[in-house]
Symmetry: C2
Subunit: 199 residues, 2 copies
């Protein structure tokens, strides 16, 4: 019975998150109430509160879902059998594109993400750590094959991620989209130069 | 007469900007009115409007003043006679420190800067271009002496500036101050590696 009720519980949480994301996108985070979410699911607000103790917990779960999609897609690119330099380039481009698709050109979703980031920074930190870990995996392979030089791989991965902030951070993507600066490909050239073996 | 009245006019503009900055810092940009600024200067709001057509123009001038201080200080570091690698490091650190001092730990000033950046993006773009130009000057010297490799110096300067976004951008400085990530020195090591001559 435990397994079944666990499954039912996970399913209910999942349904709440999907409906919440839909409403946050449609009418905005601030204007959406737990009662609105409950209504779409034909349940009482009290029942929603059985699964999430606050709207803040719901937005954290929505953010986690969106970030989880990025992490999974990035992992696929990172493990595709391709030369390591090209793979790192494609990985960095795909993180940029995955974040852009999710967070740009949708003011309501953008508001939601800004709030989610402010209120649940630990969720974001965990996401950044996972993405940095994926980048570090590719850098480590390049170091092993002699194609990259990085005496401290986790640090090189953090620096790579930080160098790409303009292209990874939802707010920076929006703010800098039309502003002068390097293209994402030019920036990756610069990062790859920083990882090149010393002469 | 023209020279004298030009001087008087510049002086009045300067006084308005100094008083406005003081009020924006003390009571916040949103709550400060043109009438408040006029009152401190013992003049009529109409007289302030002779020099600035709106509060938006005043905040642009305040932002320009703050950014101008950063540009001048950066220029001094960039032209101090020191080895070029060390000079670039000190330049990047000083831009980080100058921006941190100005914009961190002062919520009201931070609000002001966020609004100034949003409403007067052209002022910010001009500032970023000047700072990037200063960075480019040091990189060009290093290229000439063989200490740096950068086939396209303006692009290398833009990439350097972009790589340092976490440490230069007022909002990113505030948001990332306590978050995991490379230290500013570690990030500069990474940037310098990207500018190192190829083997």
């Amino acid at each position: 019975m435990t397994l079944i009720s666990d499954h039912v519980e996970a399913d209910m949480r999942g349904r709440i998150v999907v409906v919440a994301e839909k409403l946050f996108r449609e009418i905005g985070y601030q204007k959406t109430t737990v009662a609105d979410i409950a209504k779409v699911l034909r349940m009482s607000p009290a029942n929603v509160y059985r699964f999430f103790d606050s709207k803040k917990s719901i937005i954290a779960a929505v953010a986690q879902r969106l970030m989880g999609e990025v992490e999974e897609a990035a992992q696929v690119v990172a493990t595709t059998p391709k030369p390591v330099q090209l793979r790192l380039r494609e990985l960095l481009i795909s993180i940029h594109q995955l974040n852009s698709e999710r967070y740009v050109g949708d003011a309501k979703l953008h508001e939601m993400v800004a709030i989610a980031m402010e209120e649940n920074w630990d969720v974001c930190v965990a996401h950044i750590e996972r993405v940095t870990g994926t980048i570090g995996g590719v850098i480590a392979e390049g170091v092993a094959s002699g194609e990259f030089y990085a005496p401290d791989v986790p640090l090189a991965a953090m620096c790579t991620c930080t160098a790409m902030l303009r292209y990874f951070h939802p707010q920076m993507i929006v703010e800098c989209a039309e502003k002068p600066g390097p293209t994402v490909d030019q920036m990756i050239d610069f990062v790859l130069a920083g990882l090149a073996p010393r002469g």
